[in-house]
């Protein structure tokens, strides 16, 4: 296939359908109808508009993302909560309360999530509104500490933890060994990213998107650029679509190998740890040989990519083949090591019905039998033309199945890499970048949603541009959507299972709190 083939059929639909609802209750009714019809609740956000706060729910369906919206009256300080009807909105509504200061009435636990403050009336960032406070100092003492029953005590685990990890605090409530209840405090590394996007040019916004969740830079850049391309009606040239797939899959491979490394490390398998770490380093070096950055930054731009890989396709294919041999051998050895599997089996189980209700994303959802892969369901770039490969379905939902899903995905990535490199070898001298009206300024206003399948699961960008500047950008990473499930996966597990469960989720805290 060498011709100037149109890629990314999923992206050419103009702006996504926006369905305004007449009131908040009508909005929730339509969201609940969507969920009942099998569509997935993909997120909820609030935007401060001149005429009041706008609530936007994202609904994922085959082929795209639909936005359902309702406007609160100006000056409204509360609205009826969605969480009592839909558990998945639990963190979303807490976040809205933190950022906007409006209260979802009837929310079961409206404790601060990213901005704990003693003074509830102090100014809030209010994404969407110009300006905002210059500094907000979080106050951890304003968070409730509660223990559920007699004989229990709390082990505060974090935010500075053993090992090289991102900052988060787990409050493990335990009678000694079991973990009947667990709480999370994620606010520590909140960086105010949503607000930071505002006022940026679309070009600068891309750089920030790449640094929103650093281990999934490519996926964030893709989701961001897809939103801009949708607004501009731009078609990504075929070679660029292939280069995007190469980088996205190498990123997935690196992340899954990292998860494998951490699980092997937790189990004390020194050689396996070293082997997976070696393979991951090989992948990162391959990425840096291709583009200069170990995390694929600076490759994806609105309308296409900056350059072809500096490695020719034949070398790339050789590297992929070598990686495949090495990874397959070590994966087979690890999955045959009983002392390793014993630690993962039945550890941290997520029930399939919970995964489905919540719309669990990425490998976490797939391990519990809920597979909504954006590369398949809402394909973009070169994915419609490439095969992901068929995987055995998993539904055990434990750490072992999550790891199995990751290995399937890793091999699927290698499969995709091979196809994309093959295709790339055949493309001639073609442009790598289509013009984007939003970037060159011929279109100055727009609003759209973009998505991509990160290693952690689907990442979603809701982007609004007015007069050539970003006025609202809400990145919703899979880490944010999935981490809340952590509350539910400790039944029957003990303290020493903790590192396995955490590593098996494979999430990034940076993507959770932004």
């Amino acid at each position: 296939m060498t011709g100037g083939r149109a890629a990314g059929t999923g992206l050419t639909g103009g702006i996504p359908p926006i369905m305004p609802a007449s009131g908040v209750n009508a909005l929730w009714d339509s969201v609940m109808r969507d969920v009942a019809a099998g569509r997935r609740f993909a997120g909820l956000m609030a935007t401060q508009r001149p005429d009041g706060v706008l609530l936007s729910a994202h609904i994922a369906e085959p082929g795209g993302i639909v936005i359902r919206e309702a406007q609160l009256p100006p000056g409204a300080t509360s609205y009826p909560a969605l969480t009592p009807r839909l558990d998945a909105a639990f963190w979303y509504e807490r976040l809205i309360h933190d950022l906007h200061g409006i209260s979802p009435e009837g929310h079961p636990r409206l404790a601060p999530l990213v901005l704990p403050r003693r003074d509830d009336a102090a100014p809030r960032p209010r994404p969407g509104a110009p300006g905002g406070p210059a500094a907000i100092q979080p106050d951890e003492h304003s968070l409730p500490r509660h223990v559920m029953g007699p004989g229990l005590f709390t082990i505060p685990h974090g935010p500075v933890r053993s090992g090289v990890l991102e900052s988060i605090e787990y409050l493990v409530e335990t009678p000694g060994e079991d973990i009947p209840h667990l709480n999370m405090r994620v606010f520590y590394k909140h960086r105010g990213i949503e607000k930071r996007f505002e006022g940026m040019t679309p070009g600068d916004g891309l750089l920030l998107a790449e640094r929103t969740e650093g281990v999934a830079s490519v996926a964030h850049a893709l989701a961001y650029c897809h939103a801009i391309e949708r607004m501009s009606g731009a078609e990504v040239p075929w070679p660029a679509a292939l280069v995007r797939v190469l980088h996205a899959e190498l990123e997935r491979l690196a992340n899954h190998l990292d998860t494998g490394t951490r699980l092997a490390d937790a189990a004390g398998l020194a050689v396996a740890t070293a082997r997976f770490a070696l393979h991951k380093e090989t992948v990162l070096r391959l990425v840096s040989r291709m583009c200069g950055s170990r995390f694929g930054r600076g490759v994806v731009v609105p309308g296409g990519v900056t350059a072809l890989p500096r490695l020719d396709a034949a070398d790339l294919l050789t590297e992929v083949a070598r990686l495949e041999r090495a990874i397959t051998g070590d994966v087979n050895a690890a999955m045959g090591t009983s002392s390793f599997l014993d630690r993962l089996r039945r550890t941290g189980p997520l029930r399939p019905e919970r995964a489905r209700e919540h719309g669990a994303l990425g490998p976490v959802g797939r391990a519990s039998g809920y597979d909504d892969d954006a590369r398949r369901g809402r394909p973009y770039d070169a994915y419609p033309a490439l095969g992901r490969g068929d995987w055995l379905p998993h539904s055990g939902g434990d750490a072992l199945d999550r790891l199995r899903v990751r290995w399937d995905e890793a091999l699927g990535s290698l499969h995709l890499l091979r196809q994309a490199a093959d295709e790339l070898a055949g493309v001639g001298d073609q442009p790598l970048r289509a013009d984007c009206a939003v970037v060159d300024g011929t279109v100055t206003d727009g609003r759209s949603v973009g998505w991509a399948e990160a290693p952690q699961g689907e990442v979603l960008y809701d982007l609004r541009i007015e007069e050539g500047r970003i006025t609202r950008c809400r990145p919703r990473s899979a880490s944010f959507h999935n981490l809340v499930l952590f509350h539910e996966v400790f039944a029957g597990d003990i303290l020493t299972d903790f590192p396995f469960i955490e590593a098996s989720f494979g999430l990034s805290v940076a993507g959770v709190v932004l």
Binding site: P159, S167, R275
Partner: protein, 333 residues
């Protein structure tokens, strides 16, 4: 028999010997942007606007970008140690450039550089990439290129002071890492130091869980306000002597994430930083370089740019040969 015994031997020694021996991946690493020719940018308009983080300044009086001037912990900007730099093209271009720059002109604060390459793409005659792992500096002002003239005096004193503090550690150095609002990539690069390729244990460097056992604090992230207190507590919990390394452009200056209501624009307002390492994220070799710079353990032989290039080329040849050999021997199954 466990399959892991043979698997562990499969690829032989994969560990780098850097810094004792050159490593092509280290010397070929693309670091922050640098000024190749300050004179070329003289009088050009719009250079400052090229940079999304405001790292470029074109003031005619030789003052650095405001980020460096704001530096409260160090007296002015001091020179970065040329002997400890790996950057072949950087060294030559810069020394040459520094004299001309006094007349005016383009300066770039690498402490703010997020490696987006916008300046390099727009004005390749003025800006280029630095190469090698040696991005770290002992002062905040030392990250400004070309160096600010007349401010080199205290560098030796700073270096000696640092060396005196770390002398007792010898080959038993313990690190503690704290994330103060990173994007998550820096953690992975630091974690890589424990892997088989970089293996810091060979240098007598170890990670520790407890601040009480730590000598060096690696801080990542833009200085999230929620992490001020935990970071401060960790720092206070460490015994003297202690060294702080700001890892990554976010930690050095706040990068693109700052200004924001939730960050303090880098970590230096919370803890006194001894070594400043830009990068987005810095590579494991750069982090290793920063560590050895702090410990005064970098090889002191000053190589000329020509020698360095020769060494690099020789090393690259060797690696290529080794690779071919290994491939011929069939490393596959």
């Amino acid at each position: 028999m466990s399959p892991w015994v043979l698997r562990g031997l499969r690829n032989g020694v994969v560990t780098t010997r850097w810094p004792a021996r050159p490593d092509p991946y280290a010397s070929g690493w693309r670091g922050p942007a640098t000024v190749l020719d300050p004179a070329a940018g003289e009088g050009a308009d719009g250079l400052e606007g090229l940079c999304p983080t405001g790292a470029i300044s074109t003031q005619p009086d030789g003052a650095g970008p405001d980020g460096a001037e704001r530096d409260g912990t160090q007296p002015d900007g001091a020179e970065r140690d040329g002997a400890e730099r790996d950057g072949a093209e950087r060294d030559g271009a810069e020394r040459d450039g520094a004299e001309r720059a006094d007349r005016g002109r383009v300066r770039l604060d690498q402490g703010k550089c997020i490696l987006c390459g916008r300046c390099v793409g727009a004005r390749p005659d003025v800006f280029g990439w630095s190469t090698g792992p040696g991005a770290a500096a002992l002062t905040r002002g030392g990250l400004v290129v070309p160096e600010i003239p007349g401010t080199a005096e205290n560098l030796a004193a700073i270096r000696d002071g640092l060396r005196a503090r770390t002398a007792a550690l010898q080959r038993s150095v313990h690190l503690r890492h704290v994330d103060a609002g990173s994007d998550g990539a820096e953690e992975q690069e630091i974690y890589a130091l424990l892997g088989p390729v970089y293996d810091v244990h060979r240098l007598g460097i170890f990670f520790t869980a407890s601040p009480r056992h730590a000598d060096v604090l690696l801080v990542t992230g833009a200085g999230a306000r929620g992490m001020i207190a935990p970071l401060r507590r960790t720092f206070d919990g460490m015994p003297d002597p202690k060294i702080v390394i700001a890892v990554g452009t976010d930690a050095v200056s706040g990068g693109l994430v700052s200004p924001s209501y939730a960050t303090t624009g880098g970590v230096s307002d919370t803890v006194g930083v001894d070594v400043w390492l830009p990068g987005s994220p810095p590579s494991p070799f750069s982090i290793l370089h920063a560590l050895l710079l702090a410990l005064g353990r970098l090889p002191t032989v000053q190589q000329t740019a020509v020698q360095q290039t020769a060494v690099r080329q020789a090393a690259e040849r060797q690696t290529a040969e080794r690779r071919t050999q290994r491939r011929d021997q069939g490393e596959g199954q």
